[in-house]
């Protein structure tokens, strides 16, 4: 929890360069605090919520808490500009995703593994060559199986970051395609192509799980 150790000095403005005061009170009130005594409760709830979001992007719990703290501070600092067009929790959700994406970019030493082998193949006639096995169980039934949750989590983690992040943003966090594309600084079409490849690769990685229970 590196961020925790760095937090206090980081927030102290250097002498002569006083940052505008960022008051926790308005955000805390928006999160349900009625008095200062409620601050620990609403902050803990917000950090847990934000860490849950960050964890799927950054992978580890410690890094997720670091992102959550950073995102919470950003939310307090930016609350004056919050226009209230979305719920405050949705707005904080977006801030958390941005912090998590920055964290992923900073640690971008992760090797990008090609996923071409996981994509469907077609012959010269345009006919699909790869078959796909899928059983009768619904997604909900599959997730009730032993170790299924870990298997799905591992399959997503196996995707290269360039594909994993877009899949999380669109399919899990349900960001509009235009926002996903803008965040990644690519065109909507390029984002769609990448998302489709990510989903197709994930489908292949999950095939053993999906095929189980097949009649």
């Amino acid at each position: 929890m590196l961020f925790l150790n760095l937090l206090v000095p980081f927030l102290r403005a250097p002498a002569g360069h006083e940052a505008p005061a960022a008051d926790i009170a308005p955000l805390a009130r928006a999160l349900g605090a009625e008095s200062e005594a409620d601050y620990p409760r609403v902050v803990a709830e917000a950090l847990a919520r934000m860490a849950r979001v960050a964890e799927r992007y950054v992978g580890s719990r410690d890094d997720a808490f670091d992102c959550a703290q950073e995102a919470f501070i950003n939310a307090v600092n930016g609350y004056a500009a919050f226009e209230g067009r979305a719920a405050v929790t949705s707005w904080m959700h977006r801030i958390t995703i941005n912090c998590a994406l920055q964290h992923c970019r900073r640690g971008s030493a992760r090797r990008e593994v090609p996923i071409d082998d996981l994509l469907p193949q077609f012959d010269t006639e345009g006919i699909i060559e790869s078959s796909f096995r899928v059983g009768p169980d619904s997604a909900e039934e599959i997730l009730q199986r032993r170790d299924a949750r870990a298997t799905v989590r591992q399959a997503i983690a196996q995707l290269p970051d360039s594909h994993r992040l877009i899949l999380l943003m669109r399919d899990i966090d349900e960001m509009p395609m235009e926002e996903v594309a803008a965040t990644l600084e690519v065109t909507v079409n390029a984002a769609k192509v990448r998302l489709h490849r990510a989903r197709s690769a994930l489908r292949r990685l999950l095939e053993p799980l999906l095929a189980e229970g097949r009649l």
Partner: protein, 119 residues
């Protein structure tokens, strides 16, 4: 079938080399030339927009037509749909990740303290 149609089919089948199985060549011939049919490769290109509900009507009809006649693409699409759903259900609600009680007290205190110092 009339002679020109038969001649066309035979020409197509002969023209694609012996390496492709006859079934593939025949299916490819039908998917590429039959009105209202598309190939599996074209189906794959339409898949994302179809799933997102953004495929225009004419292409949607072609996509759904192919879905009815091609078992391989039907399984492939079902896998695509269910993989997305698995991810969504996995992360839905609070089943995964830390709960408020798991946030260390000292972390909460540090955040509040840090913000108070700026007021």
């Amino acid at each position: 079938m009339s002679d020109p149609v038969v001649r066309f089919i035979l020409r197509q089948l002969r023209g694609h080399g012996p390496e492709r199985p006859l079934r593939h060549r025949l299916v490819g011939l039908i998917f590429r030339n039959w009105p209202g049919m598309i190939t599996c490769a074209r189906f794959e290109q339409f898949l994302l927009d179809y799933h997102e509900g953004e495929l225009p009507e004419p292409q949607r009809r072609l996509f759904e037509g192919h879905l009815q006649v091609c078992g391989l693409c039907r399984s492939s699409y079902e896998g695509y749909r269910r993989s997305i759903e698995l991810g969504q259900r996995l992360f839905a609600g609070e089943a995964d990740g830390p709960l408020p009680g798991e946030v260390p007290d000292e972390m909460v205190a540090a955040v509040i303290e840090a913000l108070r110092k700026r007021e």
